[in-house]
Subunit: 140 residues, 4 copies
């Protein structure tokens, strides 16, 4: 799976007095979608951290097209487009009843427990590579 | 100082669609007041943690008397009433322009890096004891 | 249904540097459970607000028995024990793999758009009354 | 004043288990800086809303250069570079002890109570224009 989709319902605590899902909460939604995506890839973030890998956010860009509101059921898609080398770029789309309300992109690097950037775990790269470039079945 | 007072201005992100400071954010306000109180006591929480002490919350009780709103400037008092043994009880009052809007109580225990309860650092107890029971100046 | 159970997975954004689900986020979890409970009762909170009723929190008491952590899947039960008159008392239990980690109680009042306390909607009381005191089937 | 600077101390509740200020909280910091900037301009956001103007976020771009941690005292600068027409672009810099840790840009539109985009209040534009293009003192 190069992409995964999470269902997230807007909490009352996440609204603001404008009556909208406050824009600051989308980062946590994207993170939840990212964690879900990693789990579907077979590399739960919890395990990555227990192996000494962290995935801090280096960049976050969000475009708010339409507001969302309390109790809305949102589908949040997380998508990888290119095989990461050192940095990982992920793309997000938030939809409500088929309407695209929000798009975003995040950039990450793998970081070790010493706070320094490091290469992604080999199993991570191999897994992604197989997904992005599935082998053509060979003729015999 | 057995008590300290912090000034906290309500952020827009902390409002909800009822138009109030959402009740879930008071815990962070009390925590900010607690951190301020510890710093004034000469035992910054940052240092306590670096020495291997944590202060997890065991109980939290809040009474919401009047709502607060965006941009309100609140004074949050944190107060110790009795010398702690194993558990520490702290009391809070949130005022806005002299009006008492919220009261609370939190109970904590000192915890070590192994997650187990431990006695408070001796310097902490000695410092508090001196504050709660200042020595009467002796005549000669 | 006098009680309902919500499944909530702990977000990374909700952890703190102690490595725990930060205690301040439980209020939003209880609120999510409360909203779920109301929906199951046939009185979605979204509709109550659109009819001019709000349910502000007057009191919140939480006991933290065991910490929860990132990615834990929690079951949060919301339960009514007595038929409300003006105030509504709700009780909560947070379990992880059958372990009771947190208990809480919240007290609410119905409030109108003018910010004043008001009686609960009659349909709300009738619905709850029927649930709490189901009629004994009559003999013929 | 085309720019303003806010002092914000990182709360414990805002840290995550990586030991950093969680990236999702920066949006609220920028918002606090924006509110402060508007107040210094003589147009408190609270008053704008009471006059029926809202300033929803259309875009948010953040670059995280260095992490921040619990109890760090940050200076958050909010800056206007060009006179807005319909959209307003604001730039942010977060510094800690002179080190630039985070940069950001937000784009906003004025919105009316009907949820539709509208022109900024004339007093807002006139005020900004005077600041951006101060009149050259006339010779006599």
């Amino acid at each position: 799976m190069i992409h995964s989709t999470s269902s997230i319902r807007v909490r009352y605590a996440e609204t603001d007095q404008m009556g909208f899902l406050h824009h600051g909460h989308y980062a946590a939604y994207f993170e939840e979608a990212r964690v879900h995506w990693l789990a579907q890839l077979g590399m739960p973030y919890r395990e990555l951290e227990s192996q000494g890998y962290f995935l801090p956010v280096l960049e976050l860009q969000i475009r708010f097209l339409h507001p969302n509101r309390f109790d809305d059921l949102l589908s949040v898609q997380c998508r990888l487009e290119t095989l990461p080398r050192v940095k990982i770029e992920l793309f997000y789309e938030v939809c409500r009843d088929g309407l695209l309300t929000t798009t975003a992109k995040s950039v990450h690097a793998f970081m070790g427990t010493d706070g320094k950037a490091m290469r992604p775990p080999p199993a991570f790269l191999d897994g992604l590579s197989a997904l992005l470039h599935p082998k053509t079945p060979q003729r015999t």
